[in-house]
């Protein structure tokens, strides 16, 4: 099974032009400086921006095809995102954050809470459920954000700069934790980062973007050799 992303996306004067196939089970890091197109790429996968031409095909489901005007709405895509800093909903409790994806699908609160138990236990969040995001440490917030993203059982997990904004010590811990999370997730795992160390320590394959184009695509060991 593969996730084929072969498309261009134009935003103003910027054009992203990629042809990348992801394989189930591999952890891929998308690297590049600010403005390289990382964020646009992520938006296209999540369905927050439509492709200008080309297509995105996940397994045998077409997510976005410019010519046939197929476009699966972000609410219907099996894609989970974890943004930098977690971006938890500040006005909700931790539990409400975790079960948001189920509540949005009109699942009753009690049923949703029950359904969330395995994830709550897996990430050790039971003690935090009644708290609010501002009371959490950076590492805790990240764990909640991952649980929130996984609750809808996505096939693709996108991590957008999950490590930036954390101090060095927390970073080490969270990195180890992320490796564990990524190891426990069976689908397509894509990590967007501008940090070489994050990419090297967590990914199997590294793709480098610059000015909207792929300038490197290879295994992490090959990339390490290049450095």
């Amino acid at each position: 099974m593969t996730f084929d992303t072969r498309f261009t996306l134009t935003r103003g004067s910027f054009e992203l032009n990629v042809d990348i196939s992801f394989h189930e089970g591999e952890v891929v890091a998308i690297m590049g400086p600010n403005g390289s197109g990382k964020s646009t790429f992520l938006h296209a996968i999540a369905g927050l921006l439509p492709a200008t031409s080309g297509s995105l095909v996940l397994d045998d489901q077409t997510l976005d095809e410019a010519t046939s005007e197929v476009f699966i709405d972000p609410t219907q895509r099996p894609v989970g995102i974890v943004f930098q800093g977690g971006l938890l909903f500040e006005t909700m409790t931790i539990l409400e954050n975790i079960i948001f994806g189920l509540r949005a699908r009109k699942i009753k609160r009690t049923d949703a809470t029950h359904q969330a138990q395995p994830l709550i236990n897996q990430f050790g969040l039971a003690e935090l459920l009644d708290r609010h995001p501002r009371e959490l440490s950076g590492g805790q917030a990240q764990r909640v954000a991952i649980a929130r993203a996984l609750i809808t059982a996505p096939k693709v997990l996108l991590l957008d700069e999950p490590m930036s904004g954390l101090d060095t010590t927390t970073r080490q811990l969270v990195r180890a934790e992320f490796r564990e999370v990524l190891a426990g997730f069976a689908g397509y795992r894509i990590l967007v980062t501008h940090d070489v160390n994050d990419a090297l320590s967590m990914a199997d394959r590294i793709i480098e973007l610059d000015h909207g184009k792929v300038i490197w695509d290879g295994s992490t060991s090959e990339y390490r050799g290049k450095l």
């Binding site: 972000p74 995102i81 948001f100 994806g101 809808t152």
Partner: protein, 272 residues
């Protein structure tokens, strides 16, 4: 660098003196109002039918205006903040214009648009028999005209401060646009919404120029508190004083009630 306590104690006297003058200027009219209020006649005057009518009309219309401003203003603010469409700058300029425009000009504009011989008014009259000027509806229209921009610009500012990625995440988690707006966006911008609401409501409560021009000054129908106060100044200055005091009390108590709960933080929405 931390300043030493000694240094901090040294007050900048000239600035302080000027600032105190400003405070005195704002404060002294209130003291003058309290000083001259004929307290012995307070109950008699407040209990008068026409005064109670005016107070009730003011509360009713300003509340109606506040509700209408939320219903129409929030979607408009969302469009201005989130969607890049042609004419966006024009609409924002229009909002600011009606905010800085002398309200009497707004009243004249409304009269020549919705009046019996106005642009739309003539058809409302001849087709449906609807005559808006000099009705309570006209009072609400005049108030909405001057108050709506306060709500729109406040909510828009709140929306702009909110990271759109919160909404993005909520969308990828399966939230429909409406669900995301209700559960994520709206609670996050609550301080701006409340601030805008209070500003719009206060503006509506104090509305004078547009109301007297478009809705007239008919006791019981269009004579709101500010109009009644102005009318009383000629015939019965004591009533005018007491009416002013009642308006100060109403405005002040609502501001105080809301301040601690929602408007305490100056960094959220508009600082009140």
């Amino acid at each position: 660098m931390r300043q030493s306590p000694r240094h901090r104690q040294k007050l900048p006297w000239p600035i302080l003196a000027i600032a105190l003058l400003a405070v005195a200027f704002i404060l002294s009219p209130f003291i003058g109002l309290l000083w001259r209020t004929p307290w012995s006649k307070f109950t008699d005057i407040v209990m008068k039918q026409e005064i109670r009518d005016a107070l009730w009309l003011s509360l009713k219309t300003s509340l109606m205006t506040a509700i209408l401003c939320v219903i129409f203003g929030v979607p408009l603010a969302w469009l201005l903040a989130r969607v890049n469409f042609p004419g966006r700058r024009f609409i924002r300029a229009l909002m600011t214009l009606s905010m800085v425009l002398p309200p009497v000009v707004g009243g004249i504009a409304l009269l020549y648009t919705f009046g019996r011989r106005g642009l739309f008014g003539q058809y409302l009259d001849s087709w449906f028999g609807i005559r808006l000027p000099f009705t309570t509806t006209a009072v609400v229209m005049a108030q909405c005209f001057v108050a709506l921009p306060f709500l729109v610009l406040s909510v828009e500012a709140g929306l702009r401060q909110l990271d759109t990625r919160f909404e993005d995440v909520a969308r990828t988690l399966g939230g429909s646009r409406w669900y995301v707006f209700r559960r994520v966006t709206l609670p996050s911008i609550k301080p701006s919404l409340i601030a805008g609401l209070v500003l719009a409501w206060a503006r509506a409560l104090g509305e004078f120029g547009a109301t007297i021009t478009f809705a007239g000054n008919l006791p019981g129908t269009t004579q709101t508190m500010p109009l009644a106060t102005y009318a009383a100044l000629d015939s019965n200055p004591e009533s005018a004083l007491i009416l002013s005091l009642v308006m100060v009390a109403v405005a002040f108590s609502i501001l105080i009630a809301l301040r601690d709960r929602w408007l305490g933080r100056a960094d959220q929405g508009l600082a009140l």
